[in-house]
């Protein structure tokens, strides 16, 4: 019974939400919307678990002075500090307002750090591209040529190089052709396959065929 209940609940919820795609009547649409609202509430309440887990996992290591214990203390201190500032020194529910200490911490501490991480992407793209464009096989050669055409064709320099040629063999035209036809076709093929995969996985879960996430192996 305890194993069956989650499967039945999943099936009911899944069928109601699928039905709401086809049935706009409020008798179906409103319960489906309500279920989705409940999901938001459940996810939000999960953050208590998340915070508890952070304290448990990192607290143990920090107290026992295990490997990298200094980082754990920095993490716990930062997290606790932001929570205290947010709960007690930022105007209660107005903690996200401009000028509140919590918002200040977010805007002037977290956002720059996030931007720093994101900006590393430029360097990683360069190093990954260097490896990707090494011509070792026919496939790699095709990839390199296509990439070269697209890269040069997307900048004014590409236009300058081939402006004297007929339009079909100008680099911008070739770059656009590559992006609009072969690339789009491949993307859509992957998207169709992935869409079917989504439906198959959803169906497996709704029918209770795939339920490893809700069972305890004996």
């Amino acid at each position: 019974m305890m194993n069956l209940l989650p499967v039945v609940l999943t099936a009911i919820v899944g069928i109601v939400v699928i039905l709401s795609f086809f049935v706009p009547h409020p008798y179906i649409a409103e319960p489906a919307q309500k279920l989705q609202d409940w999901a938001i509430v459940i996810v939000a309440s999960g953050y208590v678990l998340g915070a508890a887990n952070v304290y448990k996992v990192n607290g143990e290591s920090a107290i026992k002075r295990q490997k990298d214990w200094v980082y754990k203390w920095i993490l716990l201190g930062s997290m606790t500090g932001m929570m205290v500032v947010g709960f007690f020194f930022s105007g209660g529910t107005q903690f996200l307002n401009e000028g509140s200490p919590f918002k200040w911490g977010y805007d002037f501490l977290y956002v720059p750090m996030q931007a720093t991480m994101f900006s590393l992407l430029a360097f990683f793209i360069a190093s990954a591209a260097f490896r990707a464009f090494r011509i070792r096989t026919v496939d790699a050669a095709l990839l390199a040529v296509a990439a070269l055409v697209v890269m040069i064709g997307r900048v004014p320099l590409g236009n300058l190089f081939t402006a004297a040629f007929p339009e079909p063999i100008q680099l911008p035209t070739m770059a656009n052709w590559l992006l609009e036809w072969p690339q789009n076709a491949a993307k859509r093929g992957i998207a169709i396959g992935a869409g079917l995969g989504v439906m198959a996985t959803g169906l497996r879960i709704i029918l209770g065929i795939e339920r490893s996430h809700m069972r305890e192996e004996a």
Partner: protein, 414 residues
């Protein structure tokens, strides 16, 4: 008001000399000029000025229709009308339309909206199963035209969205195929599933980590549990945990949503139990890190650089962090296996990882690893649906080429 009237008028009619003179100057000239005595001159000139600058009211809007918006939950009415005709140069120019609603023609009328002269359609949110009439009044510099009233209309909730018939049929066909092959697999039929190199490599990668005495890092993507890619990833996690348990290799699963974390804990625990090593399960191996995207990246890259896991497995939904993770992992020399259905991130994984599960392979991985007949049946059903879709695409291309568009329109859902 006279100034505004003159401006509106001369913008549409052929320009005359008088139209081109700003109304104030015109009034001044007519008032002071012409050589008549001042008293009489003033009165006459004001009459002339008024005749020149006052614009007439526009003609009423035509064809006002109010219809229940189809395929909705019964809370919307669409009102359409045709532009107020300008039959002659003497008709006023429409500057706006005023839309009002009432329960009956007698009123009381409630203003719904006023829209610009170029708009001839408005969708109004109303109560279901309640009669309404609408009236549209053309407004211009010269005043308001007579309002035009629509027939009464009620917004009714529909039980089926007829714009999605094709989706329903495709879904029923797909579900039918999946159930058919699942039943056949349950009956003992052997189903052929092609090799997926990326999934086969998982055990190899874990074996390598075992030989090197290092851990396995499993990243279940950065979306919450409502993303089916995360669910697919968690289903694979159980099989991965089973292998790590068998080899007694530590596994680390950093999660960026608490609900994902709790499910991942269950999956890893199940894997250890299934391998007969329940006591080897470390609850701290699955941990919540943060929901913030780049803070999550910083935490994982930190784990990679400090702990140097020998195998990094990224399965789930990824965005800009895909290359940050994969390149950092590459720099540590780990075997990397990635899988996502985010098409834009696939090239990054292909470049930086040893194996990549592309799109649907991510969803197939759970069934492929467990080899459970019922799960394999669903894979087979997906394959046959793909054949049906390819056939539909080919037929659609042929029909479009010969000019028959009804097939395409049938598949256009709303």
């Amino acid at each position: 008001m006279p100034a505004r009237a003159a401006r509106v008028t001369h913008s549409r009619r052929p320009l005359s000399f008088l139209d081109c003179i700003p109304p104030l100057i015109l009034t001044l000239v007519l008032t002071l000029g012409l050589g008549a005595p001042r008293s009489a001159r003033g009165q006459d000139s004001l009459v002339v000025a008024a005749a020149v600058v006052a614009a007439p009211a526009p003609a009423p809007a035509g064809g006002v229709k109010a219809i229940d918006v189809p395929n909705d939950r019964g809370d919307a009415i669409e009102v359409t009308w045709t532009p107020a005709p300008q039959k002659s140069a003497g008709d006023g120019i429409v500057t706006a339309y005023l839309l009002e609603r009432a329960p009956a023609v007698e009123g009381p009328w409630t203003r719904v909206d006023s829209v610009g002269a170029g708009t001839h359609k408005k969708t109004d949110t109303v109560k279901s199963d309640t009669p309404y009439v609408y009236r549209v009044t053309a407004l211009g510099a010269g005043g308001a035209a007579a309002p035009v009233v629509s027939e009464p209309v009620e917004a009714c909730a529909q039980w089926f969205n007829t714009g999605r018939v094709s989706v329903l049929l495709a879904m029923l066909l797909f579900f039918g195929l999946v159930i058919l092959f699942t039943l056949r697999a349950q009956a003992g039929e052997k189903l052929f599933i092609r090799r997926i190199a990326g999934i086969d490599a998982i055990e190899e990668a874990i074996g390598r980590a075992t030989e090197m005495g290092r851990s396995v890092l499993y990243v279940p993507g950065i979306n919450d549990i409502d993303d089916i890619q995360t669910m697919a990833s968690l289903n694979i996690l159980e099989s991965v945990a089973k292998v790590t348990a068998k080899y007694e290799t530590p596994i680390v699963v950093p999660c960026n949503y608490p609900v994902v974390m709790t499910l991942a804990q269950e999956m890893v625990k199940n894997g250890y139990v299934a391998a007969g090593r329940a006591d080897g399960y470390d609850p701290n191996s699955v941990r919540y890190v943060t929901t913030e995207q780049f803070a999550y990246v910083a935490a994982i890259t930190g784990i990679m650089l400090r702990d140097k896991p020998a195998a990094n497995i990224y399965l789930g939904s990824f965005y800009a962090e895909s290359l940050l993770l994969a390149e950092t992992g590459f720099s540590t020399g780990a075997i990397q296996i990635a899988g996502t259905a985010q098409v834009a991130q696939l090239p990054f994984f292909v470049v930086a990882c040893d194996y990549t599960l592309i799109g649907e392979e991510l969803y197939a991985a759970g069934a492929y690893l467990t080899r459970e007949p019922r799960l394999l049946g669903s894979l087979k059903g997906s394959d046959y649906m793909k054949v049906a879709l390819i056939a539909a695409i080919v037929v659609g291309c042929v029909l479009e080429t010969i000019g028959m568009t009804s097939f395409k329109h049938f598949f256009a859902s709303q």
